[in-house]
């Protein structure tokens, strides 16, 4: 059981999960463009983006002050701020809220860091149960090629360097991602993820995502979701 609160609002919550390099953000962005093209009101919420918590997260990372427990609590604080400031009111107002990463990121990552699964699951009992959860599943080596190929240097916590898995940052990153991947896979069924094969083309993945959206919450999107007025449509 996830233990989340059910979504009793007229809005809909769609979330994406997956390891770094799974392409989930691209897919969510394409999905939200499509929903917006239908004049639906769509609101975005990104993991680790609360302005109130930002300074603390930055300081903790820069000075390497985090333990697994405080890393988990600070990210939960960030989540709580976005939840009460943004996600809940927008759902209540009838919008589609698209979240890039959700509580499952904590379930996978914090457990991979060594916090107790039942503790972190309780921590996110404050969260609303998503109406749709997509898990972009990608083999480790594919994700690693994508990440290590075309991006700036890996960061300390991102690479799981705090776990002392390896003194080589790339190797540590690979080992840490492997653990996270294992956690995602093991919760996929329990959490009711819609699993998307993230090795497919971007277009093919998006086709599947849109089909699942229509099949599961299509009616609600048609009837319950707040829309932009037609007059605002640009020529």
């Amino acid at each position: 059981m996830d233990g989340f609160r059910p979504n009793s609002y007229s809005g809909k919550l769609i979330i994406v999960e997956g390891i770094d390099g799974s392409g989930k953000s691209t897919q969510l962005s394409l999905l939200s463009q499509w929903l917006r093209s239908k004049r639906l009101v769509v609101s975005f919420s990104e993991w680790n983006s609360s302005s109130i918590v930002r300074g603390t997260t930055r300081q903790g990372k820069r000075k390497q002050m985090f333990t697994p427990t405080t890393f988990s609590l600070i990210h939960a604080t960030d989540f709580a701020d976005r939840l009460e400031r943004h996600i809940l009111p927008m759902l209540e107002a009838g919008a589609v809220v698209c979240a890039d990463r959700y509580a499952f990121t904590a379930f996978a990552r914090d457990v991979a860091r060594g916090v107790r699964p039942q503790w972190v699951r309780n921590l996110y009992r404050m969260a609303i149960k998503p109406d749709l959860a997509f898990y972009f599943r990608v083999p480790l080596n594919v994700a690693l090629d994508r990440i290590l190929g075309g991006r700036a240097a890996l960061k300390y916590y991102e690479a799981g360097m705090d776990l002392n898995l390896s003194s080589d940052i790339q190797e540590s990153f690979a080992l840490f991602q492997e653990r996270i991947l294992r956690e995602y896979d093991s919760m996929a069924e329990e959490m009711g993820f819609h699993v998307i094969d993230a090795t497919g083309t971007i277009k093919e993945q998006q086709r599947q995502v849109r089909k699942i959206v229509m099949n599961t919450i299509g009616d609600a999107l048609e009837k319950d979701i707040l829309r932009q007025p037609t007059s605002e449509r640009r020529a």
């Binding site: 609360s50 109130i52 918590v53 300074g55 603390t56 300081q59 903790g60 002050m65 985090f66 333990t67 697994p68 427990t69 405080t70 609590l73 600070i74 939960a76 604080t77 709580a80 701020d81 939840l83 009460e84 400031r85 860091r113 060594g114 916090v115 107790r116 039942q118 503790w119 309780n122 921590l123 009992r125 404050m126």
Partner: protein, 234 residues
């Protein structure tokens, strides 16, 4: 020599990663209570007295975590901190001090005096109509203290001391984000009354030792000293 008063330390529910309880040889003493009852003064005096008796002491207190101190203060200054976020931010402050101050000091055999524990976080959150049972489970990673002394004062006493000492009623200590009244004074009274009620119920559940804090500081100190002397066999 063993002391029957002092059981080995344990976690409430969820052991912290990387902590071996058998290594924790120190003593953990909590001073709890609402605002303005003189907790900080008492902790200072107790520390001086314990050190005079040869006990190494580390003191810590709510909002003093180096990780969250600045961020929490900034968030409070902005007056846009929601009640759910506040509870977790304070829990992060607590956990940071627990893991990086309290546990290392206990490992080194110190007496740890802490000015409030997670109980105050739970109380503040409950006074803001949040799910406190949930937050208590988040605090399941806390150590059960050897003793918790609850400095309990009446609301009249809290109001009078705040007016005499700080000489203004601070926004958050007045629960203005809820609020509890149509003006600052009323809200302070209402919020502090609610906090006392909640601390009373936590006191029963967690087995605090209640200290009458309506008395002058010297009397409170004498009371605390006597009880801690018995606990530590001084």
């Amino acid at each position: 020599m063993t002391n029957d008063n002092l059981k080995p330390l344990d976690f409430y529910a969820d052991p912290l990663p990387n902590v071996d309880l058998t290594e924790l040889q120190g003593k953990l003493i909590v001073i709890e209570g609402p605002d303005s009852v003189g907790r900080t003064t008492q902790v200072e005096r107790l520390r001086a007295w314990l050190e005079a008796n040869g006990h190494a002491v580390v003191d810590t207190g709510m909002t003093r975590s180096t990780l969250t101190k600045e961020g929490l203060q900034e968030a409070k200054n902005g007056h846009t901190l929601g009640p759910l976020t506040m509870g977790l931010f304070y829990m992060a402050d607590f956990a940071d001090r627990l893991e990086r101050v309290i546990v290392p000091a206990l490992r080194a055999g110190f007496v740890v005096l802490t000015d409030r524990y997670f109980y105050s976080v739970v109380a503040r959150s409950a006074a803001r109509h949040q799910d406190s049972e949930w937050l208590e489970r988040v605090a399941g990673c806390a150590l059960v203290p050897h003793a918790t002394f609850y400095l309990r004062a009446s609301v009249d006493e809290i109001v009078a001391r705040t007016a005499r000492g700080r000489r203004y009623f601070e926004y958050w200590e007045s629960g203005m984000d809820v609020p509890y009244g149509s003006n600052r004074y009323e809200s302070f009274r209402g919020y502090q009354s609610r906090l006392v009620e909640i601390l009373d119920s936590l006191s029963e559940r967690y087995g605090f030792t209640v200290i009458d804090a309506n008395r002058p500081p010297d009397k409170i100190f004498a009371d605390l000293r006597q009880r801690i002397a018995a606990l530590l066999e001084i």
